[in-house]
């Protein structure tokens, strides 16, 4: 088996398939007070991220949209990961995940425990697919900072 087939299996792990087939928190959030749209025109991936933030804490988070397995799984894992976290911590997580996906583990906070999100790091070997994994995270960031511009990754 060549390196490419190994990299493929690193990326397409069961966690990804599971979250693609049954995305968590896949629904609009009527109680949301933050939301943003994300769009990757190159892929046609499109999603909306909803956040309910109270007292500086992300109480609930959800998404709707459509995209490839990587972008769907990334959004699904993300909504799980941010629930219950203070906004400042979510922003720090955004920065670390972004670093993990684009530059590698070394670029992220060494103390960071990525947990299930670690699986997303497999995209690093597929430059054309990094944007798929980062789209939900950029959209999350926009939702938090109140940018109403659609987040774009392309």
């Amino acid at each position: 088996m060549s390196g490419m087939q190994d990299s493929l299996r690193e990326l397409y792990q069961e966690v990804i398939f599971d979250h693609n087939r049954n995305p968590r928190n896949y629904r609009p959030l009527p109680a949301a007070n933050h939301h943003a749209d994300g769009h990757n025109p190159l892929c046609g991936d499109q999603l909306t991220v909803y956040l309910q933030v109270e007292d500086g804490i992300v109480r609930d988070s959800s998404f709707v949209g459509h995209g490839c397995a990587i972008s769907t799984a990334s959004a699904s894992l993300m909504t799980e990961a941010v629930k219950g976290k203070p906004v400042a911590e979510v922003e720090a997580l955004f920065r670390d995940v972004h670093a993990l996906l684009t530059e590698g583990r070394e670029a992220a906070d060494p103390a960071r425990d990525f947990g299930k999100l670690e699986v997303l790091s497999g995209v690093k070997e597929f430059p054309a697919r990094v944007k798929c994994a980062t789209l939900a995270w950029h959209t999350l960031h926009n939702a938090l900072v109140g940018e109403h511009e659609t987040a774009h990754t392309e």
């Binding site: 060549s2 390196g3 693609n20 087939r21 025109p41 991936d45």
Partner: protein, 427 residues
């Protein structure tokens, strides 16, 4: 022509992969099955060598020197123009303008023919299946002139709605801009008939030949169109060069769209006069080596014979159509009666981009996405497709590799047999 289940199906007749050096390189440890010819074709050694030979033996600027090399380079460049002329069966060599490719050729017509002539309320007729390069230049010219776009719809099987076309053609139609072959669906449009009907209404016709010229013989006089655009790189030639055919009567009355050297007759600060076509439209030093290598590509293709290439690719298309249709969960997008070698498809539960990545790991290079035809994807309600597009060097083994790789992807995704439905949010 490619009716599935036709018992008398043709068989592929060409075996030319050895002429293309890149095809012998493995990809991720696998045999490369290059099925992205719609994006760009690979180059035969004859083309690579022609470009290198020009730089080794003949390089000089053209139309500028009295020295031997410059005259020699000029002769080669003019010879390349004559080759393109014969290739398209244009009446005259000065009806061929070298451009960077199809995109630049269309922009040239939009800015040089369209912008000075179009007025508010004039209509430009194009179709839902156009490549962005045959949409956006017209949108720009509409903004500049107040002209409006009218769009011929596409039927479910990927053919143009010809009744709607007839209805849309009217007094105000100034231009029909239509693709010869759809890059996303493979549909071959009846451009000769459409040209005749557009001419009856007094409209000018531009045909986008980017996906046609490498796969069937093209005769611009038989089509009757006023403009015909193509790119060298989709015709086994180099990137960065292509051509616009324009009927002499039209080109003669078109102003330049870029200014510079080589396109003038005389320059003075109070009066500059322009060279006649085609030089008027070729400002600056052109892609000389590219044009010469493009001519070598045309020689190569004509040496093989476009009729034989057509038979070969139709046989592959037929085989590929049946093979894909036989995979549970695979749906073809674009099933027109007359098709070029393009297989656009969707696999249940697997997004085209995931499919593209997985196929690549198996050595199968296809394109996944919207194919620069977003309005068409919107028409079909899909974000994109996976697309296998054929070239003259492809064989049954490439299609077998494609099919095997799709099975692999379905296994990986747990959708083998088309049962599991994925997240159901991708049409």
């Amino acid at each position: 022509m490619n009716a599935p289940c036709d018992p008398g199906a043709q068989t592929p007749i060409l075996d030319l992969a050895a002429d293309f050096p890149i095809l012998s390189r493995p990809l991720h440890g696998r045999r490369l099955a290059y099925l992205d010819n719609g994006a760009t074709t690979q180059k035969p050694a004859a083309v690579i060598e022609a470009e290198a030979r020009f730089y080794r033996e003949s390089n000089a600027n053209i139309h500028r020197g009295v020295h031997w090399l410059s005259q020699h380079a000029t002769e080669l460049y003019d010879g390349a123009r004559a080759t393109v002329q014969r290739f398209l069966n244009a009446a005259r060599a000065d009806e061929i303008v070298f451009t960077r490719g199809t995109t630049e050729a269309i922009n040239l017509v939009a800015q040089s023919w369209g912008r000075p002539r179009l007025a508010a309320g004039d209509e430009i007729l194009l179709s839902t299946m156009e490549h962005h390069s045959n949409i956006v230049p017209w949108q720009l010219v509409c903004e500049q002139t107040g002209a409006v776009l009218k769009v011929i719809p596409v039927r479910d099987n990927g053919e143009l709605d010809m009744a709607a076309f007839a209805g849309l053609l009217g007094e105000r139609t100034r231009l029909l801009a239509i693709t010869h072959v759809s890059n996303a669906l493979g549909t071959v449009n009846p451009v000769a008939e459409m040209t005749r009907r557009a001419h009856e209404m007094g409209a000018v016709v531009l045909v986008d030949g980017a996906q046609a010229v490498a796969h069937q013989a093209v005769d611009v006089q038989a089509i009757g169109c006023d403009f015909y655009a193509f790119s060298g790189h989709k015709l086994y030639g180099p990137t960065g060069v292509g051509a616009l055919y324009g009927r002499a009567e039209l080109l003669r009355h078109m102003p330049p769209w870029q200014g510079g050297g080589d396109m003038i007759r005389t320059v003075a600060f109070d009066n500059t006069t322009f060279a006649p076509p085609p030089q008027r439209f070729e400002a600056g030093t052109p892609n000389i080596a590219g044009a010469i290598a493009l001519a070598a590509a045309i020689d190569y293709v004509q040496g093989v014979g476009l009729a034989r290439i057509h038979v070969h690719e139709q046989a592959l298309l037929d085989y590929g159509t049946r093979a894909l249709a036989a995979i549970p969960g695979v749906r073809l997008v674009g099933t027109a009666e007359r098709k070029a070698g393009i297989l656009s498809f969707l696999v249940d539960g697997i997004h085209p981009h995931d499919l593209g990545t997985i196929l690549d790991a198996e050595g199968v290079a296809i394109r996944a996405g919207h194919h620069c035809a977003m309005p068409l994807m919107t028409r079909f309600g899909i974000p994109g497709t996976a697309r296998a597009s054929l070239g003259l060097y492809n064989g049954l083994a490439d299609l077998d590799a494609l099919v095997a790789a799709i099975h692999k992807a379905q296994e990986l995704f747990g959708t083998r047999g088309g049962t599991a439905s994925g997240n159901g949010r991708v049409a």
